[in-house]
Every structure is written in C-alpha cells, then in structure tokens.
Amino acid sequence: MSTLTLDRAPEARRAEPRGQVTFARVLRSEWIKMRTLRSTFWTMLAAVVALIGFGILFGAVDANRWPHMSAHEKATFDPIGTSLQGFFLAQLAIGVLGVLMISGEYATGMIRASLSAVPRRLPVLWAKAGLYAVVTWVLMTAGSLIAFLSGQALLSSRHIGASLSDPGAVRMVLGTGLYLTVVALLGVAVGALVRNTAGGIATVFGLLLVLPALAEALPSSWADHINQYLPSNAGQSLTALHHEAHTLAPWPGFLVFCAYAVAALAGAAVLLKRHDA
C-alpha cells in the first residue's frame, strides 16, 4: 500500500508540469472564454433564428402569394434564394459578435490579462478567429440547410419548391454558411483593428451594407467595374442563383471576399504585435 503511494507521488507531480503556453492550450482557453459569455449564446441564437426564421417566413408568404403573382414575377422567382434570404440579417449578428470577441476584451481590460498570459500575442488572435470561424461555419451551414429545407417544404405546396439536386442549390446552401464564416473573420479582424465596440460594429456594417449602397450612386460606367469587387457584393456572388452581368462568378467572387478578410486579419496581427496593449 505504502509502496503504491510512493510510486504515485512523482507521477502526480509530473501530471502538472510547469506548463508552457502551446497553441492547443490557447485554443482551449479561448474556447472557455467564448462559451462562458452569455452574449455568445444569444447572438448566435439570433443569427440561427434569423436565418431559419426568414427562410420559413418567406417560404410561407411566397407560397401564399403565388397564385396572385404576375407572369414576370413567376418567371424570375428564385425559390432557393428566397429560403436563404435570412442570411442578410444573420450577417449582422455574426459580424457584431466577431467584433465583440476582441473589442469586449479591450473595453473591460481583459485584454491585458489575456496578453500577459500569452505574451507572444498572435496565438490569441489566431485562436479567437479560428474558433469563431469554425463555430460560425458549423451553425450557419446547418442553419442554412434547415432554412432551405423548411422553405422548400412550404413552397412545394405550390409545386414551386427546389431540391438540393437542382442546379446551384448545394452551392448556395453551402455558400451561405461560407459567406457568414468569412463575415465572422472580418468581424474579428475589424474588432482587433478598431479595438472599440461601437467603432468596430459601425465599420463592419459600413463595409457590408453601406458601401454597396453608396456605390450605387456612382455613374454606371464606374459602378459596373467597381461594385462587383466591394466586399459583400463579391462574397454574395457565391449565394446568387444566376451569374448576372457585372457580378463576379461565384467562386472568384468568394475568393475576393476572402482576400478582404485575410488582409484585415493580417493588419490586425501587425497591430496587435506592434502596439502597446
């Protein structure tokens, strides 16, 4: 008995080494941080509800209105896009939470605790961005699939529903999840660049919503060339049914959107590394 205790003692000590900071540990820490804030839960819930709720709502409304639609409306009706339209609201929730992931730490002073625990700093940014992107991708891909299926179930009462085997359907459903994932990364990057909640949220909204609206005012000879490269316009090429004139093709458009996020994250990394906390 006593031998057993003696044998175990050094092992117990080995079980808690003077632990080094590893990326896996930083990920674990950021995961704890993410899941222990109520704002994470509520904002994610809002995004999922928006995505699925509007899929159901628009499905029901359009199924109801179908007999009264004009021939033109019927001809251009896009059942897939209709059921996924909730992404427009969901992107706001995702973008806001992305900003909060970092600006919340600056606002409360938590960032100094975080960075003194991980003095190399960058692992904190990569862990936050990576975790949040994965969580967003899983929830929003599942959400858009549910939105699609429930929307089509409602539309099929009029025999106007689409199925996943229809051209573009899989791309648009997965694309919605991917688009929102990149919005999440953009939000985290902007949060780290601006370090302020109000300013960060305004910047994300400005980039995604205001910029395309402003650009509408450009003379069309310019707008035709510029607008398709604006972040949200480029990203939403992946979720559009038809590749129209003066829009980017789905995957190139999505890559342009990714490039914005990567550039913003790179800027955030440089700033985090260089600036005083």
Binding site: A15, E16, P17, R18, G19, Q20, V21, T22, R25, V26, R28, S29, E30, I32, K33, T36, L37, R38, S39, G104, E105, T108, G109, M110, I111, R112, A113, L115, S116, A117, V118, P119, R120, D276, A277
Partner: protein
C-alpha cells in the same frame, strides 16, 4: 528578480518613464512608490511586456517577459483590478487563464479559496465590488504559483480586514523566497508591508532604499521635551546647529540633538523632564518632502493671507 536597465517610455511628447534602473530582489516585499502619474503603472506594464520600452530593457528572472515559455509560472501580475471581462464569472475567468498554460482546475479552486471568493466565484465579475475585484485580480496573480509577483495598487478598495490579509499574504510570499513588487501612492501602507522601497517621481528614480533609511533621511528627526523649566532648558540647549521651538507651554521641540544628549544635559543641570520623545517624521510627510518637486498634478498652493501687505 526584476532588473530594469535605463528603462525609458515616451508617449509622443510626454515622457512617462525616464532612464529608470533598479533591481527588485527576492525574499523581501519591495514597495514601488510615487505620486499619481509618476510612471508606476507604465513601468509595471513594461515589466509584463504589455508596453514596449522606447529604450532600455527590463527582465524578469533573467529574461524579458515575452521570452518566457511559461509566463504565468514566472510572474503573477495584477495590473488593474478590472482586467476582467465583466460578463464572465470569476471561476470561468480564472479557468480561461489557467488553460493557457495547463494549470489544473484544482488550482483554480485553490486560489479562489486563498483569496476568499468561494461564495461569489460563480457570479459574474461585473457585479463585483472594488474589493472583490481586487481579490479576483490577486487570485489571477497567484494562479501559476509564480516566483515573482507584480501588483499595482493591490490595497485599493479593500476594507481594513482585506488590507491586513493582503499585507500578510505578501509578506508570506516574500518569506518563501519570492520576489514581490507592489505599487502604491500611500507611504504609510508601504511602511507596514514593504521592507525595501523604490521611489519614483515624474518617471525618474528618486530613491532606492530600505524603508528604515528612507524615513531617517527624508526628514530631520526632532525630539519633544516637556518640563516645568522649559525656558531654562531652552537656553541650555540652543546653539550651533541646534534649534529649539516652544510648541506649547512647557513643551519644546528640539532639532539637532539626540534624545540621549538632551537627557544628559537636563540631568547635569538637575532639570526634571516629564517627557522626552524622539519624533519620527511621519512617513507620509517624508514621502511628500521627497517627491514635492515630482508631483504631476498639484493643487495650487494657497497664498498666505496678508502676504501682500
């Protein structure tokens, strides 16, 4: 062991810390003292690698903070009580910090007990009082059982019982051979907790001394003497480099002579003394004397009335 070499930090035009060199040794509590705005917090942020020095360097246990592979085990820090996300519970806050370096859950429970937050550990930190926030900050500092502790104004907001608790905690930590650096703008608090002092003002080193020496040098000590024959004694004592002031009827304040000498002179002349007390300059006075020229924010001195006349 914390070593600063010619540490300088400028924010634009403003120099927060200027050519500051000092060593904080293990085994004693070192007080880091200076008026508000003297550069204490800036220096502490540089120790922890949160702010980069404009020039000079500071090392902890021989390395710059960011070079340590297991920083929480090297240095435990509380830079401000509110370096805590207000939406997270105390327990989860500590758990997240602990996770970065693989500190087990058991240790989180342990430090919560040490700082006496057991009752509120599962409550969100946003609702904490200042004192509770300080305790949580101290818990974060102790988490990795570090060899060095750096605490910025740890007694702020604590009640008397809490102040006594932290005083003893820090002394115990130092007695175990740890390096303990704590800042304050209150000299009286430092005198009770610290053995060594580093005093700065306007970002410059003013003194690096033991608490006892600090008090001795900062202000001339005087001796209070009470006797029925005050006037006779006064005439006996007064002389070169000795000044005697009558504070009250029968009470003298003597500067420049030790109480031993005064007692001897009085005895030789058969003057009965009712009181013979060496007066220590109060610590706060000594501190104010020393940093008078280095106070960043000062209320304008009031002109004595009738001066113009």
């Amino acid at each position: 062991m914390i070593e600063a070499h010619a540490l300088t930090k400028r924010y634009g035009e403003r120099t927060a810390v200027s050519d500051l060199s000092f060593t904080v040794r293990p085994g004693v509590v070192t007080g880091f003292l200076g008026p508000n705005g003297a550069g204490k917090s800036t220096t502490m942020r540089m120790i922890l690698g949160l702010d980069a020095p404009t020039s000079g360097r500071v090392t902890v246990n021989g390395k710059q903070y960011a070079e340590h592979r297991a920083p929480l085990h090297e240095v435990g820090a509380m830079l401000e009580a509110r370096a805590i996300h207000t939406g997270r519970t105390a327990y989860n806050h500590l758990l997240a910090l602990a996770a970065t370096t693989g500190i087990p859950r058991r240790r989180v429970d342990e430090v919560i007990e040490i700082v006496g937050l057991g009752q509120v550990a599962r409550k969100r930190a946003g609702g904490f009082s200042l004192g509770m926030g300080q305790r949580l900050g101290i818990a974060s500092a102790l988490l990795g059982d570090p060899a060095t502790l750096v605490l910025d104004e740890p007694v702020n907001g604590l009640d008397p019982e809490g102040i006594l608790w932290i005083r003893n905690l820090l002394k115990d930590q130092a007695a175990e051979g740890r390096t303990v650096l704590l800042s304050s703008h209150l000299m009286s608090e430092m005198a009770l907790t610290a053995e060594h002092l580093i005093v700065i003002g306007r970002g410059r080193l003013i003194a690096d001394t033991s608490v006892a020496d600090f008090v001795r040098t900062a202000a001339g000590a005087s001796v209070r003497v009470r006797t029925d024959e005050a006037e006779r004694l006064r005439q006996l004592l007064v002389g070169h480099e000795v000044s005697v002031a009558s504070v009250d009827r029968g009470v003298l304040e003597v500067t420049g002579l030790s109480s031993d000498r005064i007692g001897r002179i009085a005895a030789d002349q058969a003057i009965a003394l009712a009181e013979l007390t060496p007066q220590q300059a109060s610590l706060e006075e000594a501190f104010m004397e020393m940093t008078r020229d280095a106070v960043e924010y000062q209320a304008p001195a009031r002109e004595p009335e009738g001066l113009a006349a």
